[in-house]
């Protein structure tokens, strides 16, 4: 609770609820001291189709359990019975918030295991980087003002979603699709930049520059927003390794984790950037880090557009995809999505279908173990804010 001082009050919950000898809270529901409250799946306050089961005492949460599986489609099973190239359009639907990350992962995994990783042409690598950064940009345009949206400051969300639509227009121009692009394919990418793309993208980026300034005035100087977010949902630095926290969430707690810097992939080693960090680890810090990352992403897109070669091959010569067999092997490929480290474990057994793929999304740890821990002693009013600040995306938890 952020308000202390003359009128501030902080309830003493150190012995409440009582803890038994195993360190678990004693929650006797029949005592009428506690109430069960279900948030979700039909609830505007959860990030997508998942449920949080809260045991509350007054306005405070004493125990939280997450329930997932409402979006389970069994991708990992379905891809096991599809050809490598058939599995590709299926797999990108695993996370709807930033679908291009899935495209890159599965393309990179198949290329690496079949020995084509070095044969992807340079132009294609640049285009892949561009697409991934555009995907991050559209995710952040929804996510940064979305944090204020959890406190019912809806204007920023409306502006952000509008600008996201503009970026989706550029995607449509480049790839022909709005949300699911299927642009990065094994061996390269599907197309070159259309004529005039650069100019139109630059126009959109200018609008986004303006938006970044406006959103700063709207959110980060807003007294009520500060009151709601400073000191709420704190992640101490020690938790980062214990809970496997990654991405902006880890960076906001002062641990600099960014796959783009740590294990550079694509052309990130040729780009000039420094992932933003903060030390507080509360909702405000996380939102601020993401806002800075928004600036950085716009800058990265400009750098990519400037440094990208004008033309070149966009696809390596690949074997016939209908008869493509990949020798037995396994690999793990990771990238930095807008939410954090996003990786895929890919096993092949020499047949024409993958043996096993397993996606590791940041929400898998953020949305279950960490969320359950963070919601304890939170106010019900902050549950939604904490979930959004962890960027929990249920489809990547249950696939």
């Amino acid at each position: 609770m952020s308000n202390k001082g003359l009128f501030g009050f902080k309830p003493d919950r150190s012995n409440y609820p009582e803890i038994d000898k195993d360190g678990k809270a004693i929650l006797d529901l029949s005592s009428q001291k506690y109430t069960k409250l279900w948030l979700g799946p039909n609830h505007p306050g959860v990030t997508g189709n998942m449920a949080v089961e809260l045991t509350i005492s007054g306005d405070e949460v004493v125990e939280a359990r997450t329930h997932v599986g409402y979006l389970h489609r069994g991708f990992e099973k379905l891809i096991e019975r599809r050809l490598f190239v058939q599995g590709f359009p299926t797999s990108i639907r695993m996370c709807v918030a930033e679908p291009d990350t899935n495209e890159y992962l599965i393309a990179q995994c198949t290329e690496e295991l079949s020995g084509y990783a070095d044969k992807v042409p340079e132009m294609a690598v640049w285009l892949r980087t561009l697409v991934l950064e555009l995907a991050r940009l559209q995710g952040l345009l929804r996510g940064v003002p979305g944090q204020a949206g959890t406190f019912s400051l809806g204007i920023g969300v409306q502006w952000g979603v509008y600008l996201r639509d503009l970026i989706l227009d550029r995607f449509e121009e480049l790839t022909g699709a709005r949300v699911y692009h299927m642009y990065i394919i094994p061996g390269g990418v599907r197309g070159l930049l259309p004529a005039g793309f650069k100019k139109r993208l630059e126009e959109n980026l200018k609008e986004i520059d303006d938006f970044i300034v406006r959103i700063h005035q709207l959110m980060f100087n807003n007294s009520v927003f500060k009151k709601r977010s400073v000191g709420v949902g704190v992640i101490p630095k020690e938790w980062i390794d214990q809970y496997g926290i990654v991405g902006t969430t880890a960076r906001a707690s002062g641990v600099k984790r960014d796959v783009r810097k740590d294990n550079p992939y694509l052309v990130y080693d040729q780009l000039d950037f420094d992932p933003p960090t903060a030390t507080d680890g509360d909702i405000y810090a996380r939102t601020f880090v993401r806002w800075q990352e928004l600036i950085q992403t716009v800058d990265l897109i400009r750098q990519i557009m400037a440094k990208m070669p004008a033309k070149g091959d966009i696809r390596a010569k690949m074997p016939n995809v209908l008869h493509w067999r990949i020798p037995k092997g396994e690999t793990y490929v990771r990238l930095e999505s807008g939410r954090g480290e996003y990786g895929m474990y890919y096993v092949t057994d020499g047949s024409d279908k993958p043996r096993r793929i397993n996606l590791r999304g940041p929400s898998y740890t953020h949305g279950i173990a960490l969320l359950e821990r963070m919601l304890v002693n939170a106010n019900i009013a902050d549950v939604h804010a904490i979930m959004v600040s962890l960027q929990v995306c249920p489809p990547e938890i249950e696939r």
């Binding site: 599986g69 390794d241 008869h323 493509w324 067999r325 793990y332 898998y364």
Partner: protein, 185 residues
């Protein structure tokens, strides 16, 4: 990286250490030493970031393969520790005490493959499915297409082409069928 793999190879008598990339290795370890090795790497070599835990069903060998993937943020290297379980009675030592998110993975693997992790919190609860009566759904011998056909009222008139045959018929109707082998091999 090489030195670490060398050290654990000698210490745990490992076979088949594979360097997939310069900064990523996969090692195989006996089932009873797997958690020991994970703990050793965590405590002595700062592999403090637990990336993921996964399971592969090698039904033809009658084995499940468990994978613990660890990351060292300082050296920026990964080690994947693989271990094999018997497919008929899959039980594995729980590692939930090492990292706080592992119980989630164990709960999922319990549901998806039926591997038991005694002592892991909530391991018996449903993770993604509700009211599931078939065998664990990620096992290779569970046929999802047949189950779906049997259960979910497929719409009449929907059919699937085999892409290779379909393309040959559409694009090269007059060409004789020559069994062209995979160019990759």
């Amino acid at each position: 990286m090489k030195a670490i793999v060398q050290e654990i190879t000698e210490k745990y008598n490992l076979q088949n250490a594979v360097f997939q990339r310069d900064n990523m290795a996969f090692v195989e370890v006996e089932k009873k030493f797997a958690i020991d090795l994970v703990t050793f790497l965590k405590d002595y070599h700062q592999f403090s970031h637990f990336v993921m835990m996964s399971c592969v069903d090698w039904i033809e060998d009658g084995q499940f393969q468990l994978l613990y993937l660890l990351h060292n943020p300082a050296l920026k290297v990964d080690i994947g520790i693989k271990t094999y379980l018997n497919r008929t009675e899959p039980v594995m030592q729980s590692a939930h005490h090492l990292w706080k998110q592992i119980w989630t993975y164990q709960r999922e693997i319990k549901e998806a493959f039926g591997i038991d992790f005694p002592g892991s919190p909530n391991v018996d609860e449903n993770f993604v499915l509700e009211g599931w009566t078939e065998i664990p759904h990620m096992r290779r011998d569970f046929d999802t297409a047949a189950y779906s056909e049997k259960t979910y009222f497929p719409r009449e008139g929907r059919f699937t082409h085999d892409p290779a045959t379909y393309m040959r018929e559409k694009l090269y109707p007059n060409q004789p069928v020559t069994a062209k082998k995979n160019t990759n091999e």
